[in-house]
Amino acid sequence: MKTIIEPFKIKSVEPIYFNTKEERRSILEKAFYNPFLIHANDVLIDLLTDSGTSAMSSNQWAGIMQGDESYAGSPSFFRFEETVQKITGMPLVIPTHQGRAAERILFSILGGKGKYFVSNTLFDTTRANIEFSGAEGIDLICEEGKHPTVPAPFKGNMDTVALKNFIAEKGAANIPLCIITVTNNSGGGQPVSMQNIKEAKKICAENNIPLFIDACLFAENSYFIKLREEGYADKSVPEIVKELFSYSDGCTMSAKKDAFANIGGFLAMRNEQLAQQCRNLLIMTEGFPTYGGLAGRDLEAIAIGLNEVMDEHYLQYRIRSIEYLTNKLITAGVPVMQPAGGHAVYIDAKEFLSHIPVEQYPGQALVGALYIEGGIRSVEIGSLMFGKYDANKKLIPAQMELVRLAIPRRVYTQSHIDYVAEVIIEVFNNRDEIKGLKITEEAPMLRHFTAKLKPIQ
């Protein structure tokens, strides 16, 4: 058969509330042209994020009913711990209420002024947590990763030459950690090759720098390795996953992505001393080490989800559905990041809206246009999310101006995706009418979540 079907049946449905283009125009205005401020009920297709928005399986819901809510020593924790140990091969597992809490704990221990954290590309909350500690985050993405529309198999790879040079320049003592984000979320959900992880590990080991994996999308990355990297075609996904983690000293995980959970995350590592430091911080802001700020039932759902996500039927469907939407857009001439990533389609807004300068946030303008046209909620990954100001308050733009359409796991069907493609193509055909935006209000950190904007007439 040519058609790849969704490897599930739908047991429970959630209604979509329809509205008109006129209504959406006024909703967007009231939300200050920021999709984070739109009520979920006013959204038709929600592609804001794939984080926490997955549909859980019937097995996971059964796990939810079996949650043991004891404050300390819950059997749900021990099941969770065992699963993470088995999948990652790491002995020390610390649950957190979500991924950013794991990051915050890790970086408040290892971070601080004068320190550098090197990465292929840091995710937004990861970077914020690093900077919050006073340290600096450094992205060393490979050359292919910098050109959105040029296809290459492993555009998430780290530039290992740049890594060597950076270590030589700043000194290994000032680099507490190297972080490889798999797949590279901010860089288009592009995978990292096993070879690249091995090389990075070798360089880190030579310099006594621990290597951590930002593992949110570990299964999708592993499936890409199976598809694209020599020598892995006949290996199972769990085997590839295990090998991938074997090169690392620890990982941070948002279970809201590749574990199909609506909430939760964890830290896993090999160093007992670091783990004890993490647990001491965990207790202050998260919760006791055997629940970490999660209900027992959520620990169950994560444990079950971690196993489900490595199913190859699922991964084939998952990767193919992103590719399907990407190809439809390419055919219509829409500038998108190529090849298709693992969890989202990324539109190159700089090219899509070439008449809007980066200071007027073309990505955010496109996000607004997609919402008005079809009620689709997407997110800007560009200068609103990552831009900074220089001493003269002039914008230092981000490397790329992207709009991310993140596809929630197991939530939408092919007809939803066809609708999304139609809306984007319609907006593309009328792109000259779209206007740039200016910021009227913003927070000092993670401004994209709450910033208010208005169109430039």
Binding site: E69, N280, A295, G296, A443
Partner: protein, 438 residues
């Protein structure tokens, strides 16, 4: 069910710290009433209606509306649990060198105040430190103590008064409405905020209903709202009163503080419309808050605690009186007078109760109190073992078993020995400390 031999081994492996026991080795779990409630069928239905959108989930708007309706606070930010709210509040309001007066410390609350550079000062009435004193509102603030602090440090050094309802460390003791009103008048004069630690506000309201003149005909819901009306904001661990397994919030009436908190919650918890919670958990919280202020529920809840307390009194076990709202607090100093406080009488007693019957309780004494910044131990007047009753989980038969076990241990109290601490973590040591028997 476990055997004495099994329990002995389990307790040893846990370093005589009940926190480190596996819950499968526990017969009746009275470690905490936090997050251990049984949810109602309506809450479970709400769980199925979770809207897991990252931004603007309808469950958030429902929760916001309920917080406004039931508690009257204008602005609300969800957090994954109470300590998440405490963390954010302390970081925003406390500056280095500030003084935070409160009606007795609570472990995580004080730690967040100290980490933000503040210093906690106890302003609870003296009666609260005397487990035998039967004053009906042992959670009251001593206004003279507060006035002295204001005089000594100046009102500018006091960002807020931390006012807990149903004071946990005093044994779940209530504050009276009269006292709260007077506190409001005094703080208003000096422009000092009152931040309400409201995790057990409904239980406090029940005691006001039972004990304070003028409130006998008011509903719990009315009393709860009146309590909140005298305060400027609140931190809530919804895992207690509000009958959920996870969740909390920070509530504020001041827009500027709220806005600052909203920017900070993104860093620590999650976007301000989910705060690190699944949508379904916000829905369960919204429904649970409604149930928590139902007169019938709270009467049965506190009634069960009182039943257990009276049973223990029949066995002449020394407990904190009057009986509090969420548990029975056994006076370990009086139970084990032969064990000095630096040999952890309450920790020893909690271990003995577990060994006897598999009932898990918690130490609330010198171990929980921790150390001062200078390194010496705090030696609290109260050296207690807390038998905390989860809401809607256990029946009267369970209560009978618990009281009988406490009685058996009481009979052989003279043979119980003290302990020494062999591992001590830096913060909140009671959670992970390990002990050996002397």
């Amino acid at each position: 069910m476990t055997t004495p031999v099994h329990r002995k081994k389990a307790m040893q492996e846990a370093g005589y710290n009940t926190f480190l026991l596996r819950s499968e080795d526990v017969y009746i779990d009275l470690l905490t009433d936090s997050g251990t409630s049984a949810m109602s069928d309506r809450q479970w239905a709400g769980m199925m209606m979770g809207d897991e959108s990252y931004a603007g989930s309808r469950n958030f708007y429902h929760l916001e509306e309920v917080v406004k309706d039931v508690y009257g606070y204008k602005y609300m930010i969800p957090t994954h649990q109470g300590r998440g709210a405490e963390n954010i509040l302390s970081k925003i309001l406390i500056k280095k060198g500030d003084i935070i007066p409160g009606n007795m410390y609570f472990t995580t609350t004080r730690l967040h105040q100290e980490l933000a550079g503040g210093k906690f000062e106890d302003i609870i009435i003296d009666e609260a430190h005397d487990p035998e004193n039967e004053f009906l509102f042992k959670g009251n603030v001593d206004l003279n103590k507060l006035e002295k602090l204001i005089k000594k440090y100046g009102a500018k050094k006091i960002p807020y008064v931390s006012m807990a309802t149903s004071v946990n460390m005093a044994g779940g003791q209530p504050i009276s409405m009269k006292n709260l009103k007077e506190l409001r008048a005094l703080t208003k004069k000096h422009s000092i905020r009152i931040i309400h630690d409201m995790t057990r506000v409904a239980e406090n309201a029940y005691f006001i209903h039972q004990r304070e003149k003028g409130y006998e005909h008011k509903t719990i819901k009315e009393i709860v709202k009146e309590i909140c009306s005298y305060t400027d904001g609140a931190t809530m661990s919804a895992k207690k009163d509000a009958l959920v397994n996870i969740g909390g919030f920070l509530a504020l009436n001041d827009w500027d503080v709220f806005e600052e908190a909203r920017n900070m919650v993104v860093v620590y918890e999650g976007l301000h419309t989910y705060g690190g919670l699944a949508g379904r958990d916000m829905e369960a919280m919204a429904i649970g808050i409604g149930e928590s202020v139902s007169d019938d529920h709270i009467k049965a809840r506190v009634g069960q605690v009182i039943y257990l307390g009276e049973k223990m009194m029949e066995y002449e076990i020394p407990i904190v009186k009057p009986i509090g709202g969420h548990g029975i607090f056994v006076n370990a100093k009086k139970f084990l007078p032969h064990i000095p406080q630096d040999q952890f009488p309450a920790q020893s007693l909690a271990a003995e109760i577990y060994l006897d019957s598999g009932v898990r309780t918690m130490e609330r004494g010198v171990v929980s109190a921790g150390r001062k910044a200078t390194g010496e131990n705090y030696y609290p007047k109260l050296e207690l073992v807390r038998f905390t009753i989860p809401r809607r989980v256990y029946t009267q038969a369970h209560m009978d078993v618990i009281a009988e076990s406490a009685a058996r241990v009481y009979e052989r109290r003279n043979s119980i020995k003290g302990m020494k601490m062999v591992y001590e973590p830096k913060y909140l040591r009671f959670f992970q400390a390990k002990f050996e028997k002397l």
